[in-house]
């Protein structure tokens, strides 16, 4: 069996080979593997319902092999389809294995034939649709709309595209905005700095840093952590600016702060 398969792949009929070459030249013209399969199926010159999927799989694999020989790069989906068809072909050729799970080769082939028939049906339907009598070409609407302009009201309008674009615009704008978190329990360094600059003048001597925490930020651990960090960072900034000095008697001892301005 397997040898026979190989044989037919390596030595396709002249007709098949010519067809495959013609197709390869045109590979860009196809809309994916299903479209290509549909075109290949036409060479069988039978009703799509009676198509030989095995034959079709062989033709497709021949096509892919020829493309490889000609060093034509095929898109990934063509290769995926080739792998699947090779799998299908082996299922169709080998006697059914009772151990094997999943659908039979015949079921898979029938589904592929259905997909091809459905695609062809939609193409035929599309052609019939486009060939209908059409507005503006075969039949016509009123050319001169009556204008009995007595009441002139302005109606504001918008269509769905406007609406979606507006929403997209807002959301896109948001993408550029700094990520805004729920700020309820965040005390920023800027806020701490403001507060300390203001308070520093009133406290002459060494003062525990913790006493600079704003009211209401002591009890909740999350808030306290944020306020402490911000206040500490702010105090470092003040030291850097030469406006204050810090001291700590030992590791983990309270940190104290004193204004330098007063000394001057």
């Amino acid at each position: 069996m397997a040898e026979q398969t190989l044989f037919s792949e390596k030595d396709p009929s002249v007709e098949e080979r010519l067809a495959a070459e013609a197709l390869i030249v045109d590979v860009d013209g196809f809309e994916g593997p299903l479209d290509l399969l549909l075109t290949l199926s036409r060479t069988q010159k039978v009703d799509l319902r009676r198509i030989s999927v095995l034959e079709l799989a062989k033709q497709y694999l021949t096509f892919v092999n020829r493309a490889k020989e000609l060093r034509i790069e095929l898109a990934a989906d063509y290769l995926v389809m080739a792998a699947w068809l090779a799998f299908l072909k082996s299922r169709l050729l080998l006697p059914p294995d009772p151990e094997e799970e999943g659908p039979s080769g015949e079921e898979l082939a029938a589904h592929l034939a259905f997909q091809l028939e459905r695609l062809q049906a939609m193409r035929d339907a599309a052609a019939k649709l486009m060939a209908r009598d059409r507005l503006g070409r075969d039949f016509f609407a009123r050319g001169e709309e009556e204008n009995v302009a007595r009441i002139k009201t302005v109606t504001y309008t918008a269509n769905l595209l406007d609406l979606m674009q507006a929403y997209a615009r807002i959301r896109t704008k948001e993408d550029f905005r700094p990520f805004v978190m729920d700020r309820d329990s965040v005390f920023t360094m800027e806020e701490a700095l403001d507060r300390m600059r203001h308070l520093l003048g009133f406290t002459g001597d060494w003062t525990d840093l913790i006493s600079y925490l704003p009211d209401g930020w002591h009890s909740d651990p999350v808030k306290r952590r944020s306020a402490t960090a911000a206040t500490f960072a702010a105090s470092l900034q003040l030291v850097k600016e030469g406006k204050a000095e810090l001291r700590q008697s030992e590791t983990f001892a309270p940190i104290q702060l004193r204004s330098l301005d007063e000394d001057e």
Binding site: G32, D77, M122, L129, R134, G136, F140
Partner: protein
């Protein structure tokens, strides 16, 4: 104004106050519907007609009379879903070279997508892709939306709640269809089972170990849960 009426004795009942109690006679309603349809290039909905005609009128019935009256004439009364319009008879198109508009060139992808929406509606993007065997470019859907030939339908009640597409009254108008049920060959296609979303037998043979690109697989799965 009233004196132009010529349909017998009931005509005199057509003053502002009386209409509240007495709808105009059907012949008069037919005239009204005729005037409104003639004046508009766009299809006019039944609701619009009801809103414009005096209370108590039955535009649906008047439209049926009007349609019969114009049978075989140079213009026809056509129904487009819930809307009505007057259009020239298609066999007279040759007289209208001056009015002929260049039809917008549609790509093959757009034409096929349009047909799939029309025949399979409501249809999701994943289903369109399943039928065509290729992904649908965003430009294609956009173009059809922009031409007002398709619109968003109800969301599918499947995981992910994908949006669906359906055709519009403008689509029906353009292709001279009374409703989407009148699409050519619809019955035959349905009878042949070609409008079904038949699941592939068993599990998907492709992309087994590859769960990275599970997005299409997900949508695919939804498709078959119907």
């Amino acid at each position: 104004m009233e004196d132009q009426m010529m349909d017998g004795p009931s005509t005199s009942g057509r003053t502002e106050n009386d209409t509240l109690f007495d709808a105009p006679p059907m012949a008069e309603q037919e005239r009204m519907v005729e005037a409104v349809l003639f004046a508009s290039a766009e299809p006019v909905t039944l609701r619009d007609l009801e809103g414009r005609m005096p209370p108590g009128c039955n535009p649906r019935e008047a439209l049926e009379h009007l349609r019969k009256r114009y049978e075989g004439r140079g213009v026809r009364v056509v129904r487009l879903g819930e809307a009505w319009a007057i259009r020239t008879a298609p066999d007279l198109g040759f007289l209208m070279q001056k009015e002929t508009t260049e039809l917008r060139k549609l790509s093959r992808a757009a034409i096929e997508t349009l047909a799939i929406v029309a025949y399979h509606q409501p249809v999701t993007r994943a289903e369109i892709e399943e039928i065509r065997g290729v992904s649908v470019s965003r430009g294609t859907i956009d173009q059809l939306l922009e031409m007002n030939w398709i619109r968003l339908g109800r969301r599918r009640m499947t995981p992910g709640r994908p949006v669906t597409f359906v055709v519009t009254p403008e689509f029906l108008d353009h292709f001279g269809l009374e409703s989407a049920r009148d699409l050519p060959g619809l019955k035959e296609l349905r009878a042949a089972g070609l409008l079904e979303n038949r699941p592939p037998p068993g599990s998907l043979p492709l992309g087994q170990g590859d769960s990275d690109d599970d997005e299409p697989a997900d949508e695919q799965a939804e498709l078959f849960e119907e």
